[in-house]
Amino acid sequence: MWFWGLTALAAATAWRVFRPYPAPPAGLRVLGAREYAFVSAAAQAMFPPGGALAPSGASVPGYVDGFVAERPAQLRLLMRLLFFLCEHATLVFPAPLSGSRLGGMRRFTGLSVEARGAYLDGWGESRLAARRLVFTSLRAILTLAYLGDPAVVRELGLAPKAIDTPVCQADLLWPRAGLARERIAYGPGDVTAPSAGVPLAPDAPLHPDYAPPRDTA
């Protein structure tokens, strides 16, 4: 009896963990299908469409892929474990608003958006410091990614302005990081006067990376 019970539990766990996820978009650097699905689901819960800011969290998964890829191997592993933990910890901390305890034990990506939000809130408000820390880490990654969307920063009115950068003596000594010496952009005749300290105008043009997309219609 015990044997069959344990076997069934092991099979259910394996099914839960290894059941396939939808194929992620092509071109991801590090995130696998499970991780991409988890981050997408978490972003939907964290940044639902509408509300005080128009952009949804649609840009978050792609950003998180780059964010994870640019970190050292050990941290990459920790972040992937974080996603795995949050995806499957519903087994131990079932999500509320799921109809039943069993329903709340579905994988995070299988929960409704409302249940995902309530589940994340549960982690954030936990009496266990470790659980709050997990939540804070996840929210930090997702929030960095959300604010990494120029549309969000622009809507907040916080987008960086375009700046005419002066050329100083140091700019004659090295090229952009990682490039060959021949790529030094300036010569002695290019050195300009240093900044005169004129405050940036509130209506100055935005940095090109943050400018609104041109209307191509």
């Binding site: 929030t143 960095l144 604010l147 907040l156 010496r181 940036l200």
Partner: protein, 507 residues
């Protein structure tokens, strides 16, 4: 006489150099030493693991910037108590991505160092000539009024309303335009970070600068350091290529207080007869409160950190204004879903003020990991020091309401996420605050190779020279015997200025 700088693409084979002095690390300590020695006519090689950055390399997005300019992708933290901390990897070190705060340590603090650590020549009067020299070279001035912006001026208004002293922060900045981008690199070229100030000046005086070189070992013969060895590493990936060997009459380690101990430990436990290498690691744990005001504060405009109050230094903390790239800034906002979005939408109405605390009872250690040169950091938060931050949080809350905030977000565990009046903020006073309730950053680190007059109790003497070796020096914040009470960069540079003069005299 003019020196040269080598970048990653310049290395086509193993590197061998000889010099009078090799300086490891180009941050505020190393750059000042290299310049001082080169200007005195000595043959100097300055080694930096990171690459040089140009303004075109600066990433405006906070997370991307951290990945490129900070070690461990900007996600370094201590074990024990999890305190996030940072160390730059770039020519110019932390000065490239800090907010340029330059404050002299108070006389009482330095007197305390002298009394408690057997020092005789490190009073304020002793250091003032070195402070003067650095301030003059870098053009350190109080932040001008026209680039303060609302969130800095509101801080002054709050202090005025409560009768607290406040002042514009003195910074190594010339011609600030108020872009608020100190932490991602100054596109206005106004911040006088080491890569555009002391390092080019050192080169102009004949110093050779090797970038993208990771020093892994100090070589010795008896009581003398003979040089350093390491490898060329590719920018951003750290992939090794060629071997590097530099011989010198004197070695100055200025790799930062989290890296210098690792280097000494990797060199066979060098300079550690006292057992103090890597011990006594301290931080200025910082807490911040966000206030939301009725009108837009345009927080994107203004000096990143433009105003401060030294009123509470005797109580162990310093108050400052703060801004950061929006993404970095937003990670501490509470809530999820529509609630979180609402809070994000309030950022344009906010001002964030922080307190950094002198936590002299809270000590940690730096250890070499089994592999690589990144440190394993351990740090514990002493309960008495937590009470300093509790008091600081109370003062910050009072200041924000005095300045007109309609609500505050204290960011303290087991307390309401928002407080709408000073009465509600009284919870900060009555709260049984524990270290776990705080979300702290610790971006000033020091004391891991502390200066002490007694060779049994410290790693270096007042001249920065290791007690155990005749010609090995340390010139980073590791030598501070304990908290400088204020931001440590200027004191580090002043000590480096003095160390350079001492090295020049001895070689």
């Amino acid at each position: 006489m003019s020196g040269a700088v080598r970048i990653f693409a310049d290395y086509t084979g193993d590197v061998y150099e000889r010099a009078d002095v090799v300086v490891v690390g180009s941050g505020p300590g190393g750059a000042v030493v290299a310049h001082g020695l080169a200007a005195a006519g000595h043959d100097v090689v300055l080694v930096e693991e990171g690459p040089p950055f140009t303004p075109d390399d600066f990433e405006l997005d906070g997370a991307r910037s951290m990945a490129r300019t900070l070690r461990e992708g900007g996600l370094r933290a201590t074990r024990g108590y999890m305190l996030s901390t940072m160390q730059a990897i770039a020519l110019g070190g932390g000065s490239l991505v800090n907010s340029a705060i330059c404050v002299r340590s108070p006389q009482a603090t330095l007197d305390g160092w002298c009394g408690d650590f057997g020092l005789e020549r490190t009073t304020r009067a002793d250091l003032d000539p070195h402070y003067d020299a650095v301030e003059k070279f870098l053009g350190i001035e109080p932040t001008p009024e026209n680039v303060q912006g609302d969130r800095n001026l509101l801080f002054r208004a709050g202090c005025d309303a409560l009768g607290y002293s406040s002042e514009p922060i003195a910074r190594n900045v010339r011609g600030c335009r108020g872009s608020g981008e100190c932490f991602t690199g100054c596109r206005s070229r106004a911040k006088q970070s080491m890569d555009i100030s002391y390092v080019p000046a050192a080169i102009a005086s004949g110093a050779r600068v090797l970038t993208s070189v990771q020093v892994q070992q100090v070589t010795t013969a008896g009581r003398r350091a003979t040089g350093v060895s390491g490898q060329v590493v590719r920018p951003f990936t750290g992939e090794p290529s060629h071997r590097v060997r530099i011989e010198a009459k004197a070695v100055v380690l200025a790799a930062g207080c989290m890296a210098t101990p690792v280097l000494l430990q990797r060199s066979g436990g060098l300079a550690n007869a006292s057992g103090q290498v890597g011990e006594n690691l301290q931080f200025h744990p910082g807490v911040a409160i966000m206030g939301v005001f009725p009108e837009r504060t345009h927080p994107e405009f203004g000096a990143t950190q433009g105003y401060q109050s030294l009123q509470f230094i005797p109580e162990g903390f310093k108050l400052e204004t703060l801004w950061a790239p929006p993404g970095v800034f937003a990670v501490r906002l509470p809530g999820t879903g529509a609630e979180l979005k609402q809070r994000l939408a309030e950022i344009p109405y906010c001002a964030v003020w922080d307190a950094i605390a002198s936590c002299n009872r809270s000590l940690g250690r730096v250890r070499a990991r089994r592999r690589g040169m990144d440190p394993a950091l351990h740090w514990s938060f002493d309960p008495q020091d937590v009470q300093i931050l509790k008091r600081a949080l109370q003062v910050l809350a009072e200041l924000l309401f005095a300045a007109g905030a309609r609500k505050i977000l204290p960011g303290v565990g087991r307390l309401p996420e928002e407080m709408h009046s000073l009465d509600q903020a009284g919870a900060l006073r009555s709260h049984d605050l524990r270290a776990d309730d705080l979300t702290c950053g610790g971006n000033h680190a020091f004391s891991s190779t502390r200066m002490h007059g007694d060779p049994r109790r410290g790693v270096v003497g007042e001249d920065g020279r290791c007690h155990d070796l005749d010609n090995l020096y340390v010139a980073d914040t590791g030598i501070l015997p304990r908290s400088p009470a204020v931001n440590p960069m200027l004191t580090c540079m002043a000590l480096a200025h003095r160390i350079a003069a001492g090295v020049a005299d001895r070689i």
